[in-house]
């Protein structure tokens, strides 16, 4: 593989790692709120989070480009803060990835939080645990399988993204040229062998990740049976 391709692999891994970390930090409170709220705004909020699943990535990318560009609200803000412009930068890719992969992190977390019996939280409250304490001592450990799923899906989905990246990141080698774009470039240039190497690598990666996920997240009962 060429140095350029390796650089694309490294950049992709870096992007996915940073985005996943941010996704967990941002997605956790959103998922917690969605799991517990009785607000009438819940359907709207849940829909907004789920939008990237149904929207073409180019639509999301297009609006992000408009927002983050020199005439967009976000763009003016980042310039005023001295951060420069986000499009065609690594930071821009991170922002796009976080939004694009949000449902893949929020939904497993939300389901994991919802699966916890309300009475477990009440028991904790009668044992002197305040709301934050209950979140960290009960909700987080009991939602562990949700966190595993969210982390893996968030990471894998970011690795596989293409449309958003192309719209807001372009194709700058070493800065915004990620794997999926590199494959596209190889195909465009009729370098099918190179494209094949990267594409096959992605297939293997996806398969390994998903098998690992399903193994880790088996119900405890099933794992115990196999161990015995």
């Amino acid at each position: 593989m060429s140095a350029a391709d390796w650089s694309a692999v490294a950049l992709t891994a870096q992007l996915a790692a940073v985005a996943t970390l941010l996704l967990l930090v941002v997605g956790m409170p959103i998922a917690w709120w969605l799991a517990r709220t009785r607000s009438r705004l819940k359907p709207l909020a849940a829909s907004l989070v789920a939008m990237p699943i149904v929207l073409p990535p180019t639509v999301l990318g297009f609006y992000l480009l408009a927002l983050m560009g020199p005439h967009g609200a976000v763009g003016e803000l980042t310039e005023a803060l001295g951060l420069g412009r986000l499009p065609f930068t690594f930071a821009g890719l991170v922002v796009g990835s976080v939004l694009y992969s949000m449902p893949f992190v929020v939904q497993p977390l939300q389901q994991a939080f919802e699966a916890i019996d309300e009475r477990t939280f009440e028991a904790a409250a009668t044992l002197r645990a305040g709301p934050w304490d209950r979140f960290f001592s009960i909700a987080l450990p009991l939602a562990r399988p949700g966190f595993v799923t969210a982390t893996v899906l968030g990471f894998a989905h970011t690795v596989g993204e293409f449309g958003v990246v192309l719209m807001i990141g372009g194709n700058i080698p070493g800065r915004t040229r990620v794997l999926s774009v590199a494959i596209y470039d190889h195909v465009e240039a009729s370098e099918l062998a190179e494209a094949h190497r990267l594409a096959a690598g992605m297939v293997v990666f996806a398969l390994v990740v998903l098998v690992a996920l399903y193994r880790v997240n088996r119900p405890a009962r099933e794992r115990a049976r196999q161990a015995a």
Partner: protein, 357 residues
């Protein structure tokens, strides 16, 4: 004193109670499902937001007039529900630690070891909740609540999810709770037999309101309450073991000098305080003492009250024996044949029953 004035309106249900329960012993909230007993208990704990006032020995937990509401986790209470609600990700030891660690060291009056011994769960410490039986889970849940040194223990049908054998396994531990710890308990139940065994004070709830309350023994001897009816009708007598007849395996419960009943002996020492439940169906009345009867107890008393039961054939008669009330279920025909009236002297025959500790 446990003070509760609570009001809560729901679409098909309203809770409206004003209670002052003794801050010692077991107060039972008894009623059919849907009568509001669980809601009342949850409101005492602060898990349910009802309007009104809750105070324990003058310490105010809720007072809407003062806009005061202490959240559940700041109330020094223990709460045990039917399903135990142990933390599935923690073993028994860490379940027990959970509450205790969150209580200031200076406020810990019950050591973890004491709670473990009291509930007999020493051998379970390393087990996970999903490997415990229902009865074991319930005992762990009770110990977990006790380990926080609560000043009030709230129990919502802690035995309802258990079969008869598991129930019998847990009940003695509840007795010990009552006898050995000075913690007042509010005990929600729909089972009169549990209440008769454990409670000192009884509150009857009906459709969100208190229909009657008072000392358990007095309440069970009243003939104007629904608890007096049905197959479980009967009184409880508190007394001491006054004599033992080891040859025949019997022990005598003395309520006072006149009211003495022989019952099956469980090896309890003389002088030990015990409770006896005498069901109305196990009591019959005669006008003169009988000979040649298999009935082990004959007590002289006076008829105090007579009421008709729901079924037209049956009547309930309360007889005063010394200081103890007994309730007998008779057919109305028998009551008529004996010409029973208030003030009639009678002999009450009581089948030998089991003592409750």
């Amino acid at each position: 004193m446990i003070e509760a004035r609570l009001h809560l309106a729901r679409p098909r249900f309203a809770l409206d109670v004003a209670l002052a329960l003794p801050a010692r012993g077991v107060s039972a909230l008894l009623g059919v499902s849907g009568c509001g007993k669980t809601t009342l208990l949850r409101a005492l704990a602060g898990l349910e937001r009802a309007a009104g006032r809750v105070a324990l020995d003058g310490e105010v937990w809720q007072d809407d007039a003062e806009r005061r509401f202490v959240p559940t986790h700041r109330r020094p209470l223990g709460y045990v529900i039917q399903e135990a609600a142990l933390f599935p990700h923690l073993d028994v030891r860490r379940n027990l630690d959970y509450g205790q660690r969150r209580v200031r060291a200076g406020a810990r009056r019950i050591a973890l070891d004491q709670a473990v011994t009291l509930l007999g769960i020493g051998p379970l410490m390393e087990r996970r909740p999903d490997t415990l039986s229902g009865g074991e889970r319930q005992r762990v849940a009770i110990a977990r609540a006790l380990a926080t040194s609560p000043r009030l223990l709230l129990m919502d049908e802690p035995l309802a999810a258990l079969d008869a054998r598991r129930k019998a396994e847990v009940l003695p531990y509840l007795d010990r709770l009552h006898d050995e710890l000075g913690i007042p308990i509010v005990y929600v139940s729909h089972a009169i037999d549990e209440v008769a065994r454990l409670a000192d004070h009884l509150v009857l709830l009906d459709a969100g309101r208190v229909s009657a309350e008072g000392a358990l023994a007095d309440m069970l001897a009243r003939l104007d309450l629904p608890v007096a009816f049905g197959d479980d009708a009967g009184v409880v007598l508190d007394g001491v073991v006054g004599a033992r007849d080891e040859r025949w395996g019997l022990a005598r419960l003395d309520v006072d000098a006149e009211a003495c009943l022989w019952a099956r002996d469980h090896g309890l020492p003389l002088g030990r305080r015990v409770r006896l439940r005498v069901l109305a169906r196990d009591v019959s009345l005669t006008l003169a003492p009988q000979t040649g009867s298999s009935i082990g107890n004959q007590l002289r008393g006076v008829v105090e009250a007579i009421v008709d039961e729901a079924h037209p054939a049956l009547a309930l008669v309360r007889v005063r024996v010394g200081s103890a009330p007994l309730v007998a279920r008779l057919t109305r025909r028998s009551a008529h044949a004996l010409a029973l009236a208030v003030g009639t002297p009678v002999w009450a025959q009581v089948k030998t029953v089991a003592l409750m500790e």
